[in-house]
Amino acid sequence: MNIDNLKSQMRKGMLEFCVLLLLKRGDAYASEMIARLKDAHLIVMEGTLYPLLTRLKNDGLLSYRWEESMQGPPRKYYSITTLGLDFLGQLQSSWDDISRSVNLLLSDQTTISNTSNITEE
């Protein structure tokens, strides 16, 4: 079992979810998304975002438009489509399920460790 592999798989699954979440709050261009995802410690290499965005766009979950910027060349602003919103809803509910389950188990762990501590005492 490769721990790094598993970790990156987990993160990868999350990344698309998080990108959709970000875009639900409002349209953004790639660099803004990178900044936020970096703040959230979700990505290390910026290059990983671009294949993902293109994939989501090709799947019809995202769309983009070109917008003039005050500085530099025009930027690609991504926005979430209705299909993307549906998709996000499903992801959200499954995430809720997963987090509930994991939290349940985690809280079990803590209670068990607490009880074991108690019994040891």
């Binding site: 790094d4 660099s31 910026e46 993902l52 500085q71 690609k76």
Partner: protein, 409 residues
């Protein structure tokens, strides 16, 4: 001091050092090999625009020029192509570490030469006509075994001499026939044992177009290179040349026949006219030589069409320069004049010497003359060659002794 280029990345102009530029170019082209198709194009463009933003940031913070370090940092930030390609294929192992261990990844730093993802190297034996002497067999073998080509050539020559020439020559010719020539960039890469990536192919194309020592194979149909290109083409040329020779000989014979016929007609017509010259004593005394001169004129009259036929044959075979219209006209006029001279001379000779076979006799004369004289000159050359050692001893060494002080002085 470094050379700097202005580059346009996504609409922004940056001044970038030469080495940094090369690294960036490598990085982008490797990204292009990683992300292919229309989708890949879009991804690479997006990454490029992000790189442009990073550089812009760098300039705004006070840098004047993008240096190697900046490019390295950007590559580190964006991710190496092999890591990114792993990202896009979830089933393969990813090298991405935990979020906060960016600096501690023990993957080697990106350098432009490494190919990614490295496909299995598949080396094949080709003839390398870019570095050939004859057919590029030795050059190809040296590529295949990774030996120095000069050493291999010397070894081959030594081996040829040791085996009394023919076995090695035959082996070489067979190898020439059997081993295919590396034509496409892909084949050249396979010959060199380099991985066939888009980047490398591009590099090969660039390399091939630049050096003057590498003729572009097969595209120049007019040059000698095309002619030597393959053994089969040479064999075909030899066969063609053989038939060409037969055709030329036939043509020469025909020319002779036509010439003789024309001469005969002219002699017949002009025999009366030549009697006008009867009274001139000078012709009387010159009579024995007239037939010789007539023979030479006939020889020239034959030689000209023969040369013409050879030229036409070489035009067809070797794509030699075709003669100009003026040249053809001049040759035809010259031919007519020579025939006329030959006819008049032979007519005179016929008149004075009154020999039935004068024509044939005088034709044979210059040929036999040139044969005996050439044999004479050959024997003379041989004698001279034999006398060279004594000649050196007697003439060269003393003269050297005389000249040497003069030079040093």
């Amino acid at each position: 001091m470094k050379k700097t280029f202005p580059v346009n990345i996504n609409g922004n102009i940056f001044y970038i050092d030469e080495d940094a530029y090369k690294l960036l170019l490598d990085y982008l082209s490797q990204l292009r090999t990683t992300f292919t198709g229309a989708e890949g194009e879009e991804i690479v463009n997006d990454i490029e625009s992000r790189i442009s933003e990073h550089f812009d940031e760098r300039i705004r913070l006070g840098a004047n020029v993008i240096v190697l370090e900046d490019v390295n940092r950007v590559i580190e930030t964006m991710g190496r192509p092999e890591e990114l390609s792993d990202e896009s294929r979830p089933e393969t192992d990813s090298q991405e570490e935990t979020t906060d261990s960016c600096g501690s990844q023990n993957v080697p730093p990106f350098n432009g030469t490494q190919a990614c993802p490295p496909p299995p190297i598949h080396k094949r034996l080709f003839r390398d006509i870019r570095h050939r002497v004859f057919g590029g067999v030795i050059a190809g073998l040296s590529q295949y075994f990774d030996w120095d080509v000069t050493v291999m050539r010397i070894l081959f020559v030594v081996l040829t001499l040791c085996t009394y020439f023919w076995p090695c020559v035959i082996i070489y010719l067979v190898a020439w026939m059997v081993i295919p020539v590396a034509r496409t960039p892909r084949e050249i890469l396979e010959m060199q044992g380099q991985p066939v990536t888009l980047d490398n192919i591009g590099q090969t194309v660039i390399n091939n177009s630049v050096p003057p020592a590498a003729p572009v194979p097969d595209t120049d149909t007019s040059s000698f290179a095309y002619f030597v290109n393959t053994f089969f083409s040479i064999a075909a040329k030899f066969i063609l040349g053989f038939f060409g020779l037969i055709a030329a000989v036939t043509a020469i014979v025909f020319c002779c026949l036509i010439l003789v016929a024309i001469c005969g007609i002219i002699i017949y017509w002009t025999s009366g006219a030549t009697t006008i010259l009867d009274g001139l004593d000078i012709l009387e005394t010159a009579a024995p030589y007239i037939s010789s001169w007539g023979g030479i004129a006939i020889f020239c009259a034959i030689l000209l069409p023969a040369l013409a036929v050879t030229w036409v044959a070489s035009c067809v075979l070797f794509k030699a320069k075709t003669p100009s219209k003026a040249g053809i006209i001049t040759a035809v006029i010259l031919e007519i004049i020579i025939i006329a001279i030959a006819a008049v001379l032979m007519g005179l000779a016929d008149h004075y010497e009154d020999q039935a076979f004068c024509l044939f006799y005088s034709m044979a004369q210059p040929i036999s003359f040139s044969l005996t004289s050439s044999i004479d000159s050959l024997s003379q050359v041989a004698e001279t060659a034999a006398s060279i050692p004594s000649l050196t001893r007697n003439a060269v060494i003393p003269s050297a002794i005389l000249v040497a002080p003069a030079i040093t002085a």
